[in-house]
Amino acid sequence: MTLAVATAAVAGVTAAAPAHTAHTALTGAAAETHGFLSPTGVEIAFLLVGLVTFGAALVTVTTRQLVHAALWLVVALGGLAVEYLLLTAEFIAWVQVLIYVGSVVVLLLFGLMLTKAPIGRSPDADSGNRWAALTVAVAAAAALVWVVVDAFRTTWIDLDGPAAGSTAVTGASLFQNWVLPFEALSVLLLAALVGAIVLSRKAKAESSSPPVNSRATPGGSPTVPNSRNHSIGRKGSVSGTDPVEATSPGKATGSAVATSQANATSPVKAISPANTTGPAVPKPASQVKPASPAKPKPTGSAETATDLAEVASGPADVTSVPTEPGSGPAEAAADGAEPGSSPAEPATGPAKQEGAP
């Protein structure tokens, strides 16, 4: 902020206006430019789509046909994607469509199929807990809506400026400031994948053994260590075909670039000397605007560096196994983070979130 004000003061009076608007927007004193009872077109569209989304969600949780619930979930998630678009977060919207509508719902349908969920109306779709659930949900909704409306009734989103969620902006932010959590997330996905395989393999090993025999012995424990050993043994070979890792080269180049750009003094150069010439575009963008994130908290860098070092040392040994295909950048990121350079500071929040699970 101080830097912005300083530059404004140097630039002259013309620069004072945006600074002023930014200030008033923060305090919420600019309500007079918007009419509460005169909704804009975006608001109407948001409201309508929101109604559809909410209705679809309600049907999802109340319908007695299980497959229909999954399909109504598609409607609700798609509606949410539209809401994202209306909020100018286009990248999130497409990710929503891709992952949720495209894969998660399909997974859920597979799950329904594999658990032999009944097709058609099933009378016992709701448990006996529904009235308690309804009470809790309505009470929570009332409290939340009250709080939210009370808190934000004079707050407005300015959707007119540059799109906040365009792919370029999101990518720049993601691979500039969020690289390490992002990579940790890939490890999480890998772990989830391995876990899912372990769980389903265990079931397979269990089903292959005669059920009578395993029931006669008091505990089915002998099969458990077997399957566990087996899955661990397979871990290395599985990771090579990991879909997450398969997508990583695409991200990897970006992350390496972003890292090398953000801290010119970091020892990343030794690993990626070719990258320095490539992406000249992000550099000015990230120099003009984000002076502020690095500056307001200069004191926190020391401790966050140590935090990061811990976080990085955690996944570093894990990733060393599966990262042969295109994981040079991942190591580069880890190496770059350890000296405690500048991009470490904003990453601490999510990095800890990644580290905690």
Binding site: A22, L26, P39, E43, G50, T53, A57, L58, V61, A69, L73, L77, L80, E83, L87, A89, I92, Q96, I99, Y100, S103, V104, L107, L108, F110, G111, L114, T115, K116, A117, A132, A133, V136, A137, V138, L144, V145, V148, T155, I157, D158, L159, G165, S173, N177, P181, F182, L185, L188, L189, A196, L199, S200, G219, G220, S221, S292, P293, P346, P350
Partner: protein, 131 residues
């Protein structure tokens, strides 16, 4: 745009998901409801990110980044959750949540002496379930 719109919609979606988690019997439907709750949070994140990126000139885009993370984690969660549901279904023959009551106090657990017996029966039941 008024910030209350996305916020209220997120709250309502969250509570809808909450209801689903609490009221649905099939474990996969419960997972769907969890997805609804996660998406409500995502909507909040996106809305506030858009608001803050303009109002406070926040260029970190933490809201959108976290939304992406949430989506990824949700994908992981749904994978693991489905695997667990499948394992349970394979072992128990059901995926109804209210039938998985191994942690319940046994009905015959009446006196101080029968506690041990109940625990033993419980353990036996669990072993059987694991088999």
């Amino acid at each position: 745009m008024h910030l209350a719109y996305p916020a209220v919609l997120a709250a309502l979606l969250f509570c809808t998901g909450l209801y689903g988690v609490l009221a649905r019997r099939n474990a996969i439907l419960v997972l769907m409801s969890v997805e609804l709750m996660l998406n409500a949070v995502n909507l909040n994140l996106v809305a506030f990110d858009v608001w803050l990126s303009e109002a406070a000139q926040d260029t970190l885009h933490s809201g959108q980044a976290l939304t992406l993370f949430t989506i990824a984690i949700a994908a992981a969660e749904i994978g693991i959750g489905l695997a667990i549901v499948l394992a349970v279904h394979r072992n128990r023959g059901t995926s109804d949540i209210d039938k998985l009551r191994d942690t319940a106090e046994g009905p015959e657990a009446d006196g101080p002496d029968s506690d041990a017996a109940a625990a033993q029966a419980d353990r036996a039941g669990k072993a059987e379930a694991a088999a």
